[in-house]
Amino acid sequence: MISLLSGDRPRSAVLSVILLAILVVLAAAPFAFPGAQALNTAAKICVFVILVASYDLLIGYAGIVSFAHTMFYGIGGYGVGLALYGWGATWVSVFGGLALALGLGIVLALAIGLFSLRVRAIFFAMITLAVASAFAILASQLSGFTGGEDGRSFRVPPELRPAFKLFEEPVLGLDITGKVLTYYILFATALALFLLALRVVNSPFGSVLKAIRENDFRTEALGYRTVVFRTKVNCLAAAMAVVAGGLNALWLRYTGPDTTLSFAIMLDILLMVVIGGMGTLYGAVIGATLFIVAQNYLQKLMAVGAAATEGIPLVPHLIHPDRWLLWLGILFVASVYFFPTGIVGRFRKAGPH
């Protein structure tokens, strides 16, 4: 177990319980929550665990601020989506599209890295912002190819469709449909990539990244070419984001600018990393889960609250479901205020690692 986690234990009983609960709930989600919204939420959490963990490799471990992460997410989404749309609903399209997207993503990350990781952090951030904006405009302008602002809906391979049944009989009262299979592909990939990321940050390579984050010059004085390490982690994070984008397209059976390239997603990722705790990876799991659950269920919770407080002056107006974004904002400001080192940072005790 510890070796699966690469020796990087959560180092707090509370955190261990929370993480284990998230793992169990995600693993059992199709059985525990039969509704479509619950499964959609669980699937989105799986996708975002990959996306946020890969972003944490950049910002939390290497200290690289990039705004191009959703671009790589989009490349994955469009790669798989357009392949399925253009080449037909086969597995060859899925893997072919993903391979092309991975190739393009890694080449772009390499190019951005080599050209701009030598410059100061703020310039790198600006360059990624410019490249990502250009890519988003390109995706919406090439409407004949990408479907423009409307995006593309496509069919997935037969085994992943809701009508497909893996077994004749239900298992534990649940039909194992193509949708359930897709969910488990997402879940297994998210788990595998998360463990891979843990391995990376706990390897000597990870130590160099942390050293670079703390002091570039000192790391160079030890003989490490920091630009090489920064470029490598940039490519790795991009590749993980591409996979997350591909999985998201498989789940939604749709790809478009709003679900992949939007700057709002970039801000969500940033918030999830900060709320969870930068440079901890476990923070990515907790941040993504908390954020997405709040995004999906806060409105419902507020409707229940507003109904229950009917008759009391002012309160039902304050917690009216229409004001859910206000409360989401307050929730985030509060969490950053009370947990400046993120939730994981708050619960981790100081002491030997």
């Binding site: 130590s207 160079e220 004085a221 030890l222 003989g223 490490y224 920091t226």
Partner: protein
């Protein structure tokens, strides 16, 4: 006659608009401990940083075993077998002591025998092995910084004022470590203000003032010549003794 490991000939270094090194001529002979003395602001630290490639020389020749290395990138200079112990200790506070050490051992896992040898001088490092280096005291951080530089055999170690603000007991351990390193054939260039510490270790000595070397010779000669000490080092150094 020992060969020159590092040689600076008429080296100038500018930091922004400031002209810090103004034609430094310095020879670091192989296998010796050379001490660089001088008042604050004389350019000693800039001299070390220029050798390390952290500042680029604007004129002059900087050679390593006769090969020009002026203008090289810092990682390439480090890979020649040069370790740098900066005045600010240069450790990574977020990383554990173990990670700091492993990071410095570029050849892979640190040699356990060498680690034991290091722990012999600096036992606190064994005690805090799995702790973040940020929790160490100032003296322990300095131990870690030196230990990191010697985790693997190096040809040259540049050390910048290791005794500054450090307790006497740790200074004694440092003297022992430097002596052993010298015996093992490591060349050391030491910037120091503590003359007694410097005199107990140094083979050669160079004194800097206003970005130039104003005296170069044997440490034993300088240590024996009080008049020369007063002329070169003035009163300011006595306060540090």
């Amino acid at each position: 006659m020992t060969a020159d490991l590092v040689r600076l000939e008429g080296v100038h270094t500018h930091i922004g608009q400031y002209h810090i090194l103004q034609g430094v001529d310095l020879v670091v002979p192989e296998g010796e401990l050379t001490v660089l003395l001088g008042r604050n602001g004389a350019g000693k630290t800039t001299c070390l940083r220029t050798i390390m490639g952290l500042w680029q020389p604007s004129a002059g020749r900087l050679t390593w075993r006769g090969r020009e290395i002026g203008g090289w990138a810092t990682p390439d200079i480090a890979r020649l077998g040069i370790a740098y112990v900066p005045e600010s200790m240069g450790i990574f506070a977020d990383l554990t002591v173990a990670e700091n050490m492993v990071l410095a051992a570029r050849a892979g896992r640190p040699d356990p025998r060498r680690l034991d040898w290091i722990f012999g001088f600096f036992p606190a490092l064994r005690k805090f092995w799995d702790f973040p280096a940020g929790v160490l005291s100032g003296g322990q951080k300095q131990m870690l910084s030196i230990a990191r530089a010697v985790i693997e055999p190096r040809d040259l170690i540049l050390v910048d004022e290791p005794t500054k603000g450090i307790a006497p007991a740790i200074i004694e351990a440092m003297i022992g470590a430097f002596r052993e390193l010298k015996r093992g054939g490591t060349t050391i260039l030491l910037v120091e203000q503590n003359f007694r510490f410097a005199a107990s270790l140094g083979d050669g000595v160079a004194v800097m003032d206003d970005g130039r070397i104003v005296h170069a010779g044997r440490m034993a000669d300088l240590a024996a010549d009080a008049a020369l000490q007063t002329r070169l080092l003035g009163l300011s150094l006595d306060q540090h003794q």
